[in-house]
Every structure is written in C-alpha cells, then in structure tokens.
C-alpha cells in the first residue's frame, strides 16, 4: 500500500511538490533558527559568565548593590581563606579571585610627562601563579594580537584599539592612575607585554589586564578581591546545582545586617543574564509551538488547495465504491510520506546551513560599535541534540494536522450527488 502511494506521489508531482517544499522550507528555517538562537544566547551567556558573572559569584552585599561601578572600597577582605574554604566545600567548582577596576592609563613622553591619556577598565586575574586557567577562560592567549602574555611582575596586556589610540606598543611603560581600596590616589607603572583583540567593542575600547597580585599592589588591596567567581569544572552551567550552592553558602556566610558579609549569586540571579538564562530554557518550547501553529495553517491551506484540485479524483474514487474512510486514510498516509521526506530534507538543508554558521559565525561587530554591554561581536550557531528533532517532529505533525483538517471535506461529499457532479 505504502509503495503504491509513494509511486503515486512521485508520478503526480502536482500532488506532492508544494506540500513537500512547504514542509522542507519550514523545517529548514526552524532548524537554522533554533541553532542560531541557541548559539547567540549560549554565546552571550558563556561570554558574560567567563568575563563577568561566573557560574556563581561571591561579593560583599554592599559591592553587589553597585557592582557595575566596581566599588573596590567595598571589596571582600581575607579572600585567600575564603577561596580555600569554597574550593574545599565545593570541589566540583573552580574558584577564581578577580578585581575589576577603573582608572586612567597615562602614557609618558621621553621626559616622563603625560603624552596621552585615556579612561580604562581593568581586570586583575591570576596570570602568573600557573594554578588556574583564568587566561584561557577569558580567551586571552588566542586574543593576543601583538607581543606576548605577561610572564613577570608588573606586566600588563592592553586592548589593541586602546593601544593604537594612545600610540602604545609592547615594551612601553604606562601608568595606571586610579583609586586604592581605601580611596587614596593610586599610581602604578606597568610594562605593556602585549596587545589583545577580543572582538568585543565594549572590551576593546579600553581594557587592561594584569596579574591580580600586581593589581593588589597598585590598589592597596592585600588579601582582598572585588569578587570571587566560581565555574563548574564541567564547563556547563547547572542552574539547579548553582542555586543549591548559593543557598547553602548564603545560609552560612551572609548576614543581612552586615553590608560587608559575603553574598553568593548564581548566573541566573545576575541582573542582565538572568533573563537570557531563563529565556534559553523556554526557547525550544516556544519555537516548536509557533512552528506547529504556522505550518499547520500553511499546510491546511495547501491541503485545501490540493483537495480542491483532487475534487474530481476523490469523487470518482467514492463513486466506484471506495469508502470515505479509506480515501481519508490514504490521504493521511500520503501526507505522512510527504511530511517525513519533507522534514528529513528540511533537517538536512538546515543542518548544512547551521553547521556553516557554527563554524564561521556572523560578525555583527559593526552593529555593536557603541554597545556598552559585553557581548561577543562574532555570533555563531550552536547545534545541539534538540536541533535534530526540533524541526523534524513538528514538520511531520503539522503536515499531518494540515491534511487532517483539509481532509474533513471528504466526509461532506454526498454520494447521491457524485454522478451529477461527474457528468458536469
């Protein structure tokens, strides 16, 4: 029976081509859209986690209220003990201390006086101990454009765009002018070891990256850090586990009365990333629902058109004694075949495009030239196991639903009228 129907579909392309193409295009778009959105949201979440929020983050309660301003006067104190305690209690996570700071980078002339100045934001991360993967986590080695990574004390990396603006090259000495943890004027000399290009405008405009030890010396922050970030060793954010860890930590360490008590927040509790984390979980369901609705309407319409075109054929089949149920069932079988092959072809085409977008990405840096949020400029699609079925199953179902709706017309045909209709 299936072979018979399949042959019929191949021989009469008018019957199968339009629904096949509609299903193919719909499924392909769904596959590409799903992979793209998963990639874009995933890229943004991961980027933010690596640079700013971690999978979990520990700050003082006062610091967390103004975290965007990196208020180092409200930083955590006694971080060596705190970090050791965190690592011991939650060995599935790697904890890293960081200091965010802002200030002025001053480039001197030959007399040691100000030649160029520019506002900078800085990251103090562990670059020299050799015990952490902080540099790799922030993708610094592969972002190096000139020079080399810091290898000794008081060496610093500077974003390439910023270096060009200040006419700085690796080997130059620059001075950081900022505020110490206690509000004093802080001035510290660094030697530029290299320049980096993150491909993110917000970072490339004016970033300096130094070893956290040097930043502590510069800002008078001995055994202190603005924040301690925690990352799951698996590299994958686990919302449930992160929330449980935060709850346990805050029960033990946090006191609402003490504004300097440490407070742990998860990635989903981050003010900007929380929405994306939540949204990414719901994305698949929203996509499937929208797709089924839209495609069902289109295929219903296509089925109605097909039904009209095959009006005489169905009449003839009913007139020669084929039951309405049988006609309806063969129509369903035909749509199942069309849905299956259309969806399979749609997944195949969609996967090819998604794979291309996953490997090459799209550079949207121009659109984010003045962006103040940290987002990658090159966005890539991301193919997940769900990408394989997120289009296929709805493609199959919607073509089936479309045919079911349009096929109802078969049961409305009056057998007594058939010969009259056929005579016309």
């Amino acid at each position: 029976m299936i072979k018979f129907l399949f042959r019929g579909l191949l021989r009469d392309r008018h019957r199968s081509l339009l629904p096949f193409l509609v299903t193919l295009i719909g499924v392909m778009l769904t596959v590409v859209f799903h992979a793209w959105m998963t990639g874009v949201i995933g890229n943004s979440i991961e980027f933010s986690a690596r640079f700013a929020s971690g999978h979990v983050k520990v700050m003082t309660r006062a610091y967390s209220e103004n975290a965007a301003q990196a208020p180092n006067d409200l930083a955590l104190i006694g971080t060596a003990t705190l970090t050791a305690g965190l690592s011991e209690r939650w060995p599935e996570m790697e904890f890293a201390e960081r200091i965010h700071f802002a200030g002025i980078i001053d480039a001197p002339d030959s007399l040691g006086e100000t030649r160029e100045q520019g506002p900078a934001m800085g990251f103090g991360i562990d670059l020299l101990s050799g015990n952490t993967a902080e540099a790799e986590r922030m993708n610094i080695p592969s972002s190096l454009r000139n020079g080399r990574m810091p290898e000794k004390k008081n060496e610093v990396l500077i974003s390439a765009l910023f270096a060009d603006k200040l006419n700085i090259v690796p080997g130059d000495v620059i001075t950081l002018v900022g505020s110490s943890m206690y509000g004093e004027l802080a001035m510290h000399n660094f030697t530029v070891s290299g320049t980096v290009d993150f491909g993110t405008t917000a970072l490339d405009r004016g970033t300096v990256i130094a070893d956290i030890g040097d930043v502590r010396d510069a800002l008078n922050m001995e055994d202190a850090a603005g924040e301690i970030l925690g990352f799951f060793r698996t590299g994958v954010y686990d919302e449930e586990r992160a929330s449980a860890i935060c709850d346990e930590f805050n029960r033990v360490y946090n006191s609402p009365e003490d504004e300097f008590s440490p407070l742990m927040t998860s990635l989903s509790q981050d003010k900007t990333m929380g929405f994306l984390v939540e949204y990414s979980g719901k994305l698949q369901g929203i996509l499937v629902a929208l797709f089924i609705m839209a495609m069902s309407l289109i295929l219903w319409n296509a089925g109605l058109l097909g039904g009209l075109r095959r009006y005489s054929e169905f009449g003839m089949r009913l007139a020669i004694g084929e039951s309405k149920g049988h006609v309806y069932r063969t129509m369903m079988m035909e749509s199942l075949l069309i849905g299956f092959f259309g969806s399979a072809a749609g997944v195949a085409f969609g996967m090819v495009i998604s794979l291309f977008l996953q490997n090459h990405g799209i550079d949207l840096g121009v659109m984010m030239k003045n962006a103040s949020v940290m987002m990658p400029s090159v966005f890539r699609a991301h193919i997940t196991p769900a990408t394989w079925y997120v289009g296929f199953i709805p493609g199959l179902l919607s073509s089936q639903i479309g045919s079911m709706l349009s096929g109802i017309g078969i049961y409305k045909r009056q057998t007594a009228q058939l010969f009259k209709e056929l005579e016309q």
Partner: protein, 246 residues
Amino acid sequence: MKRVAFIILLAGCLNALHAQYPEGKQLLDRIDKNMSSENRVFTSTMVINGRRATHTIKMKTWTAGEKKSFTEYLYPVREQGTKMLKLENQLWIYSPSTDRIIQIAGHMLRQSVMGSDLSYEDLMEDSRLTDRYSAVVTGTETINGRDCWVIDLKAFVPEITYQGMKLWVDRERNIPLREEMYAKSGTLLKRTELSDVEKIGTRWYPRRILFRDMLKDGKGTEFIIEEIEFNVPIPDYIFSKASLKK
C-alpha cells in the same frame, strides 16, 4: 480701605526690615578679606570617613594668590612624597613610587581627592567670591548659637563648578559657618560646616571644615588646619614642575 492700608503698612515694614540687611557684595567682600590672602602656607589633616574605615592624610600646602598652589603629602607612608602642583587651570601630580608627573585634566578633575568628599576642582577653586558670584542677603538664622546672615549666591562666571551657593555668615565675624553648593539644575552637590573659628592676626579663620558630598553616602571628610601662616614669602621655584620631583 482698611485692607489697602494694612497691605501698604506690611510692605513698608518688610521694606524696612530688608533695608537692615547688608548689601550682598559688601558682605562677600568682608568674607573674602577673612578667607583670601596674597599667599599662605598651611599644614592640614584630612580625616576621610569611608563606609568601611576612616583614614587620615596629612599635607603641607603653599598657595600664592588664586592661581598657584603646591601640596606635599606627609602621611601616611604610602602617600608620603606625593605632590600636587596647580598652575592656572592645570593640575599635575607626582608620585614617588612611579617617578611620574601626571597631568590631571578633564573629567578626572571631578574625581574625589584620596577618596575624600573633595574633588580636585574643589581644591583648585580658590578665587575670591566677589570675582565669581553676585549675592543677595535673604534672611537671618542661628547656627551653633551664632547669628548669621543667609546669602544666596549666583555665579556670573559661566565655567564654574557650582553655579549657585547658599551661605550662612557669622554676622559678627564675617565668616561662613555653613555653605551649600548647587549645580545649575539646582541639585545640592556639597555641604560644608565650618567651625573652630579663631582670630589669626587681623582675620577670623575656621580651623575645621566638614565637607559632605551630598551625592554619596558617608559621614563626610573633615579638613583640619593644624598650622597656618598668611602672607609669608614663598620662593618662586616652589610653583614649578621641577619641584615636584625634588
């Protein structure tokens, strides 16, 4: 008819009361005579009350007229040897740890000095009130048991940080006991309380000033004058960039 007579009487009384107030310009001139000088050398202590801790900075300052000023930080050890030079509208800072002379310009001038409630602009602003503001005496109030004139000041110099000020001036000693500084929008930016007023030579001068940046939380910054000498000779080399590295 009775009502009209009452209004005329009331207006007359108010006018008479207002006539007893001194001229605003006259009062500013008297304040300038106390607060401004040809030059001065003073040692001061700044007590900065942060959210987490209080820290103290000691410094020595040489000032000549309104345009030149030189400050050397004496304490704490971390700040020792840091020097600031102001010439006209320019400010340079030297830090011995970096052996660099850095020019502070643009928006950096609005940054806090050593985490205090004072900005670099506040430190640089030392010209006479009469050169910057017109004044109207609006009333009288009592501050810390002293009778004060209340004066509203309006800047006639456009490029000034505080476009408006309100002063409570000791009627007897012609010294402000409280100052409020306003932005052009009318937002209150800073408030100072001046106390420990002493007679130094022929002038009255406050030994203690509490600065409060009204845009941030905190208990403010106390500025205490330990020693002060007016109109003493200051060698010219003090106000040169060369002296920053000495």
